[in-house]
């Protein structure tokens, strides 16, 4: 079946612009995660949803970052007033709940802020 998809794959934004990044998880996956991966680094956790409920947003770096999953499926990560330090690859992952903990990752969106 289809895996996790993300769009756009590449996004260039001018500093100060708002951006929206989309994630389509695997159908039926209850849990959805967002990670930020800076160049040459491992992914860092941003936020976690179970269905439509955002249960953990402790990794969001500032109040300019906002994520939603209104119907428990597709999720959007929004970054307001982008800054150069926001340049990174944003990865989305989804999983079943049930204790196996395996997360399936999308290809990521590479955001470049100029």
């Amino acid at each position: 079946g289809a895996g996790v998809s993300q769009s756009p794959r590449y996004k260039v934004a001018k500093r100060g612009q708002d951006v929206a990044l989309r994630c389509d998880p695997i159908s039926g996956h209850v849990s959805l995660f967002w990670y930020q991966q800076a160049l040459g680094q491992g992914p860092e956790f941003l936020t976690y949803f179970q269905n439509e409920a955002q249960l953990d947003k402790s990794g969001l770096p500032s109040d300019r970052f906002f994520a939603e999953r209104p119907e428990g499926s597709v999720s959007t990560l929004k970054i307001q007033r982008t800054q150069q330090e926001d340049s990174a690859v944003y990865l989305c992952a989804s999983s079943w709940t049930g204790g196996e903990y395996e997360q399936y990752f999308g290809p990521g969106t590479r955001l470049t802020v100029t």
């Binding site: 995660f33 992914p43 956790f45 953990d56 992952a93 903990y101 395996e102 399936y104 290809p107």
Partner: protein
């Protein structure tokens, strides 16, 4: 806080040679450990995972890892690498809520 350390940022190895990628984690009562591989411009793919049970875990593409509680390690091994194994490898620990990743090891397989 939970942490994962990958000591080697780059590991070059010749084709058909064995390889070990090292991973150490901060001690905890319970621990769930993973190895992921990332090819250029792609997302992460799970190689293997340790949740409980046997300390030797076998994964895809001929990789295996051994959970060592006393040394707080979870090193990844392959007895004979191929050119196609060239990629970034990430060790991670976590739960159903989030994964904490190491900084990654770039494995380069040389002909």
């Amino acid at each position: 806080a939970q942490s994962v350390t990958q000591l080697d940022s780059q590991v070059p190895v010749f084709e058909e040679a064995p390889v070990e990628l090292r991973c150490n984690y901060s001690s905890s009562v319970s621990v769930y450990l993973f190895w992921y591989v990332q090819y250029p411009n792609q997302g992460l793919q799970l190689l293997l995972k340790y949740l409980s049970g046997s300390t030797l875990v076998k994964g895809i593409n001929g990789f295996e890892a051994e959970f060592n509680k006393s040394q707080t390690s979870f090193h990844l091994r392959k007895p004979s690498v191929h050119i196609s194994d060239t990629a970034e490898y990430f060790c991670a620990r976590g739960s159903a809520r989030q994964l904490t990743f190491g900084s990654g090891t770039q494995l380069t397989v040389l002909p």
